[in-house]
């Protein structure tokens, strides 16, 4: 057992997170003095090149920020631009958006549960290694993930970067006959999702709790996905139009990564656990039952249990998709007209990884003059680093290799989507 008092642990090339990142931990005299979760994803400058594009373009363009949650980018962009242009979607089209979004929740959550996170709990380097011993489990995950992708494909036209979404609605709405086979698949998926909850509930969860303020959209009456007001566990509640009054991005001395904080309050956490903690009572009875049987209470403050929350949300998304298909009547027109006008619009939706905020400023011709995108990962970064510091402090007697693996697992609790973290920089500060 190596137990050095001073050491620097560098994990380059974090595996099984979307995008690439690095983590730095510095220990001095047996105490953790610095923790950095660092993204070395090269910047792609979306907010810069959105300027000068037409108000119809951001949904397709911002989808390319992340291949894992393109629908979230499309939905937040549409919401913000429609807000700028003073347009509200009729109920039928709004429901269709929610249906599409359910597909993304399913495929993205299942990708994370089965391919990225569960192998950690079971001691495998990947799901492909797990499949050598338990092929049935991995096959179940892939089938469930496929149901989500099929849903995105049928409603969105393509699984990655859907082509059917536009400001104001869709290019073409599905015929009820297009959705019928999907419904059959989703019935099977529901059982697979329930089995997934039972499976992950049996994992061994380290005893670890945080007390961060949590933030998510809330829509009283139903579980928030594609709209809602912003609420926090600290009792804040505000309209999306006031997001920037409450959430400030700061540059911290140890890193160039911008950290989002709640003005006057500090760091916070967004994501599945935050959604669950703020809205568990709005889950469907079946999803609530599954959560209770899995040992979740009304709140979830152990980041390791986020995998259970993802599984419960998958159950909810599958059920919700079935419900939306059952009540589906093709809207009379696929999209409402969204006439350009000068203005500022803001929109936020619940990406699988948490609240995703967009703001656009348009000129009278409908050209974008400025854009701002606040992805979940940059909102979470300060809280994650805080957790990691406490986490590492309790594990300093582990070997570097072992600690590295444990830190990777801990980071994956938050499912950081690093390619989406448009504000993260690769800077190494040598503090000697």
């Amino acid at each position: 057992m190596t137990h050095r008092n001073d050491r620097l642990i560098d994990v380059r090339g974090l595996a099984r997170v979307e995008g690439e990142g690095a983590m730095h931990v510095r220990v001095r005299d047996g105490a953790v003095t610095d923790v950095r979760l660092e993204i070395y994803e090269p910047p792609r400058f979306f907010e810069a090149f959105l300027r000068g594009r037409r108000h119809t373009e951001p949904p397709d363009i911002t989808a390319r920020i992340c291949g894992i949650c393109p629908v979230a980018y499309q939905m937040s962009a549409c919401a913000a631009i429609e807000d700028a242009c003073g347009v509200t979607l009729p109920a039928g089209l709004a429901d269709l958006r929610r249906l599409l979004y359910c597909g993304e929740w399913i495929e993205s959550h299942v990708l994370h549960i089965y391919l990225l996170h569960a192998p950690d709990f079971l001691g495998y380097p990947s799901a492909l290694h797990l499949a050598r011993d338990r092929r049935d489990l991995v096959e179940r995950g892939l089938a469930l993930k496929k149901a989500g992708n099929d849903l995105v494909e049928v409603v969105g036209g393509r699984a990655v970067h859907p082509v059917n979404v536009r400001v104001g609605g869709f290019y073409r709405v599905p015929r009820p006959g297009d959705l019928a086979p999907l419904r059959e698949r989703l019935r099977v998926a529901l059982d697979q999702a329930l089995d997934t909850v039972r499976w992950v509930a049996g994992f061994d969860f380290p005893d670890f709790h945080h007390d961060h303020e949590m933030l998510a959209l809330v829509e009283p009456g139903r579980y928030a996905i594609e709209r809602g007001v912003v609420a926090t566990t600290g009792g804040l509640s505000f309209d999306v139009s006031r997001f920037e009054d409450h959430v400030v991005e700061e540059q911290v001395p140890h890193s160039t990564a911008l950290h989002a904080r709640l003005a006057g309050r500090g760091h916070y956490l967004t994501g599945p656990a935050a959604r669950y903690t703020l809205s568990s009572r709005w889950l469907s009875p079946l999803a609530r039952e599954a959560a209770a049987a899995a040992g979740l209470e009304d709140q979830c403050r152990n980041p390791y249990r986020s995998i259970v929350v993802r599984a419960v949300e998958t159950v909810y998304a599958v059920e919700e998709a079935i419900r939306l298909i059952d009540s589906y009547e093709p809207p009379p027109i696929p999209a409402v007209t969204v006439p350009a006008r000068a203005g500022v619009g803001r929109g936020a939706t619940e990406a699988p990884r948490g609240t995703l905020f967009h703001r656009y400023e348009l000129d009278a011709d409908g050209l974008v003059t400025s854009a701002r995108i606040v992805p979940p990962t940059s909102q979470n970064q300060a809280a994650v680093e805080d957790d990691l510091a406490r986490f590492v402090a309790g594990r300093l007697d582990l070997t570097d290799e072992h600690l590295t693996a444990e830190c990777e697992q801990a980071i994956r609790n938050y499912d950081p989507c690093i390619s989406c973290a448009t504000h993260f920089l690769d800077l190494h500060v040598d503090r000697g």
């Binding site: 090339g13 974090l14 595996a15 099984r16 997170v17 995008g19 690439e20 090269p42 910047p43 792609r44 400058f45 979306f46 907010e47 810069a48 090149f49 594009r53 037409r54 373009e57 363009i61 390319r64 920020i65 992340c66 291949g67 894992i68 393109p70 495929e107 990708l111 391919l115 192998p119 380097p125 990947s126 799901a127 492909l128 290694h129 499949a131 092929r135 892939l142 089938a143 993930k145 496929k146 992708n149 036209g157 393509r158 699984a159 990655v160 970067h161 082509v163 059917n164 536009r166 290019y171 073409r172 540059q251 160039t256 911008l258 693996a405 390619s419 448009t422 920089l425 690769d426 800077l427």
Partner: protein, 251 residues
């Protein structure tokens, strides 16, 4: 056993995700190849050389320009995935702009960045054996390519335009029927003409087909009422400079 490595440069992960999205084929593939490097899927990293490397993303930093050379040297066959890797991707929109100004819009301390002024395709740096186009790539083309390479033959990848696929699938032409601007006549097939099927004009995510007729496309786009600026923007999104001459003739 054939060793397969997957590498990422500046990108959205959508193309490598397309491999994980092959839900029905993934485990069969994993039985036949040794996945030696695929950070999105596995912690296990095996040393090279690698028989086949799949490369996603474009080159945007000095460090990445060096890294792709190492990957090329360690790879038997190198296949590039998607518009980022084959044409610089959407991030190549910086190529016609001032990257320092771009950086200052997004970052409070742009001086900390170490980025190149351009986003360039992999083939601008090293030899590439096969290119899969699209933003994202098509799963079917990816599987065809992997199957072909495992069998030791050349992958069958089309070079004709989206229009051919549209006709073959009996889609109504969106230009003729609805006056929608469409890049289908000059865009490479591979997606299955999914946009026209929805009544939407192709916006060129697969990049140019072989020998596109730029003059004819120019007339078509102008007839839908687009201005020269609109046309420029239409061409310059997902495959920013790839359309080259076709874009010039059109605007």
């Amino acid at each position: 056993m054939t060793t397969l490595a997957v590498w990422k440069f500046a990108s959205c992960d959508g193309c490598q995700l397309s491999l994980l999205d092959c839900e029905d084929e993934l485990l069969i593939l994993a039985d036949r190849v040794r996945i030696a490097h695929f950070l999105e899927a596995s912690r296990e990293v095996l040393p090279g050389p690698y028989d086949v490397s799949l490369v996603e993303g474009s080159i945007t930093t000095p460090a990445d320009a060096a890294r792709i050379e190492e990957i090329r040297a360690a790879s038997g066959i190198l296949v590039t995935l998607g518009a980022c890797a084959t044409a610089g991707g959407i991030q190549a929109l910086r190529n016609n702009a001032d990257v320092a100004e771009f950086a200052s819009v997004v970052y409070a301390r742009p001086d900390y960045l170490d980025v190149l002024a351009t986003s360039t395709p992999i083939a601008a740096h090293v030899d590439v054996d096969y290119e899969l186009h699209g933003c994202p790539i098509d799963k079917g083309q990816l599987l065809e390519t992997l199957a072909a390479l495992l069998a030791g033959r050349k992958p069958d990848l089309p070079a004709h335009s989206v229009c051919f696929d549209c006709k073959q699938r009996h889609h109504v032409c969106v230009v003729v029927a609805r006056g929608e601007p469409c890049l289908g006549p000059v865009t490479r097939a591979g997606c299955g003409a999914i946009c026209p099927a929805l009544g939407r004009g192709c916006f060129g995510c697969f990049g140019p087909a072989d020998s596109p007729n730029g003059a004819a496309e120019a007339a078509l786009l102008r007839a839908t009422g687009m201005s020269g600026e609109d046309i420029q923007r239409f061409y310059r999104t997902f495959n920013v400079s790839a359309y080259g001459a076709a874009a010039e003739e059109a605007s």
